[in-house]
Symmetry: C2
Subunit: 208 residues, 2 copies
Amino acid sequence: MEKVDWKPGTMIYPLPAVMVSLGHKPEDYNIITISWTGTICSDPPMCYISVRPGRHSYQILKNTGEFVINLTTKELAYATDWCGVKSGRQFNKFDEMHLTPGKASVVKVPTIEEAPISIECKVTQIIPLGTHDMFMAEVVNVKADKRYLDEKTGAFNLSKSEPIAYSHGQYFALGRKIGKFGFSVEKNKKKPILKVSGTGIYRKRKSK
Amino acid sequence: MEKVDWKPGTMIYPLPAVMVSLGHKPEDYNIITISWTGTICSDPPMCYISVRPGRHSYQILKNTGEFVINLTTKELAYATDWCGVKSGRQFNKFDEMHLTPGKASVVKVPTIEEAPISIECKVTQIIPLGTHDMFMAEVVNVKADKRYLDEKTGAFNLSKSEPIAYSHGQYFALGRKIGKFGFSVEKNKKKPILKVSGTGIYRKRKSK
């Protein structure tokens, strides 16, 4: 395997592309699409978003100390991209994209009603890093859309919402399921679908 | 749209599932699979991994201050899962998964040769948060596999490596491309493939 060195860069992919809603007053309501986001701690549940200080949303985030992370889907792909390109200085993004500000349960920031999951967050720390400041936050509530709840089992089927991922400049739908966490050590279970690629799959070697 | 409140939790998905390689000495070489990872700053390029202090890798990371983030693929899905379930205390994960420790260019930690992209990182700060400590790091080099480089254009085709994503307990292949960043504002271009879902797509309303 021949390798080539690149200059240092941001190459962790695929990433989520979430729509972050923010603002306490309707005239400040805005949506910013962010891929520099993720989970940083399981308990307490914590996450982050990184935002350029020049962005319209930056000062609102700083003043209110709250935001909502809304997961995105194929249906929301156009709005996801558009809200990442356009500025809240010029547009009311909820109006332009026909999105509905919903009522969050803990924070005063609106959710995006059309999202399958809305994660309510309170900022705990802001760390300036360079082009971006990192907003670390604690998750204070999660709102889930009942459309994706299995009425019998109560399980939430996120994949039914058709989530999208952002990878190296492009949005993708999720494809085939490969297996669930821990599939490599499961016993007496059906083999996970691994032959999707048609290429050799690394398997644990047989014990000697 | 009817919503249900959940207790606060970690619901940002889909996420990457990267194999982090670490250790300065061959006897310390280890691989830990992590989804609590992401980019936190574009310039300087910075990222993070969050790790439980009880993990075998934790002390090695702390002592060496270096790690490599290796992107994963369908071909590496089995190893990705296995390295997230098993501990380096019991297993030499490179050996068990038939993975090859490669030479990084800047850090002393091995890369995983089989990965399409290896991101060399130096820890800048460790922030204890609860169950996890967050290792913030600066990217100091990126190694890319020439297999995915277009010889004519020099463009790197990451999707050709068949990346995988982790979403709510399951690994997925990436599916159809929806569009590239900025597709919603492109003019005089072919419409992006958006009708994959067969459902209505939010489009910007026509100007009045």
